[in-house]
């Protein structure tokens, strides 16, 4: 009987932790999107107001991901090609982008595909629209986070309890 109770408690704990892990993913996504939105705004200033070349502006945008893309541009690689190299690593589990959705990543794909290719005005428009898209995604992520925080936590606990009852 003691073993069953211990097992039931373990199952409840696992359920609660599982629920929290799901809600943590949503939290990480919201934080990553906020971080990327701010970095994109800084990138816009460095490029269109300070006229820094793309690799320098990426380095100065204060974002680890952008710095990695800048380093991948060394030796005459375009921003788009450098981004393709970096993206796969960043979207793997544990990478900075692992919590982002396809829609979030699409904004970044669009930005790197056009980065540096046109004149100042067009670059300004591109970076503004990407920052705006990321901000919208961030807002949605925060709304989802509010819901999922309660939902996944409670759901995890309930599933755990249910399984515990079955076990007992």
């Amino acid at each position: 009987m003691e073993i069953r109770v211990a097992l039931a408690l373990f199952v409840v704990l696992c359920g609660a932790l599982g629920g929290r892990a799901l809600s943590d993913g949503a939290k990480r996504r919201a934080e990553a999107l906020r971080y990327l939105t701010e970095a994109t705004r800084r990138l816009r200033v460095h490029m269109t107001s300070m006229f820094e070349p793309v690799p320098v502006a990426l380095e100065h945008a204060g974002c680890e991901l952008f710095s990695t893309v800048a380093q991948a541009m060394e030796g005459g690689v375009s921003a788009e090609a450098a981004w393709e190299r970096v993206r796969d690593r960043a979207t793997k589990r544990g990478g900075i982008l692992d919590s982002l959705t396809d829609a979030d990543r699409e904004a970044l794909d669009r930005m790197f595909a056009g980065l540096g290719q046109t004149g100042r005005e067009e670059q300004d428009l591109l970076l503004s629209s990407v920052a705006e898209a990321l901000e919208i995604q961030h807002r949605l992520a925060r709304e989802k986070l509010k819901e999922s925080d309660k939902l996944y936590g409670t759901l995890g606990l309930l599933i755990g309890l249910m399984l515990a009852l079955i076990v007992i």
Binding site: M47, P53, V54, V56, M73, G116, Q117, G119, R120
Partner: protein
């Protein structure tokens, strides 16, 4: 990585081999669509590799721009952009007018002019500029490609090292090759550089804000330049400048240079040629303009 290294990495193998074989002496690399790469050095030239197709040429030029067209837009409308190490890339091709501005839309050819500091290249004449009785405002005259910018840079460095406060109006980024406003080429320890700013704005701003003893400006030519230099001279600064012109008479035929010389902004001329870096003559332009010192 310098411009020639980058170019060698971007070009097809055979052209890259040509660059690497003459790395230290190249003065110019010509890239033309559907033509081999042209390598030039003092006293010679050669074509290297197969014809460069138009797409490859475009990708090389875009890569040299660090994929940052927007950052080079203003320079490109004048037909060139300057690399971080001071090398100037001239571009030709199709230009179109957009919202009142001329914009490069297609690249047909490019010419990379190699900037190479030559410390000591003005040793022979520095005493004529930093003379015992004081500094003498000087203009370097030659046809294109004779090394005016290289000499000007060394004059700035030597005057600065001699204790003079030097200010450089480096509109085309070639004299000091600034990266993020900081010179990458040696222009001396007492030198301030205003990078990328039109000379007509940079010279008065430098006079007001940096209190220089010497103002250095490359490739002057417009009436605004002449006015700014004359004004700097009236403020007590010594002017060291360069301009295209094969002789003093030819320089005087250009209204802006005539105004600068007759306005007293320039006291002597240094004529360069017939080969790059060679100093032919220093000629006094004040006191009747009769004094001449031959060098080659």
């Amino acid at each position: 990585m310098g411009t020639l290294d980058r170019l060698a990495a971007l070009l097809p193998e055979e052209a890259a081999r040509g660059i690497n074989a003459r790395f230290g002496k190249l003065t110019q690399v010509g890239l033309r669509a559907n033509r081999p790469v042209q390598l030039s050095w003092i006293g010679g030239e050669a074509l290297a590799g197969d014809a460069l197709d138009a797409n490859k040429l475009r990708s090389v030029v875009t890569a040299l721009m660090d994929y940052s067209f927007y950052a080079r837009e203003a320079e490109l409308s004048q037909g060139f952009f300057t690399m971080n190490d001071g090398c100037r890339v001239g571009v030709c091709g199709r230009f179109a007018r957009d919202k009142g501005e001329w914009r490069l839309t297609d690249v047909g050819s490019a010419c990379v002019r190699v900037a190479r500091p030559v410390p000591g290249c003005v040793d022979a004449i520095i005493d004529r500029i930093n003379a015992a009785d004081g500094l003498r405002s000087t203009i370097l005259l030659s046809r294109p490609g004779m090394g005016k910018t290289t000499l000007l840079r060394d004059i700035a460095r030597q005057l600065s090292e001699a204790g003079r406060r030097v200010a450089v109006a480096d509109e085309r980024h070639e004299l000091a090759a600034c990266a993020s406003g900081v010179p990458t080429l040696d222009v001396g320890p007492r030198t301030d550089v205003m990078d990328g700013c039109p000379r007509t704005l940079a010279i008065p701003a430098l006079i007001r804000s940096m209190a220089p003893e010497v103002i250095v400006a490359d490739e002057i030519g417009g009436a605004g330049d002449a006015r700014a230099l004359a004004d700097a001279a009236r403020c007590g600064a010594t002017v060291i400048a360069s301009a295209h012109g094969e002789s003093v008479d030819m320089a005087l035929a250009r209204p802006a240079l005539r105004a600068a010389i007759e306005g007293g902004a320039i006291k002597q001329a240094v004529l360069l040629g017939p080969r790059p870096g060679a100093i032919m003559e220093v000629r006094a332009l004040d006191e009747g303009g009769d004094a001449r010192w031959k060098y080659a």
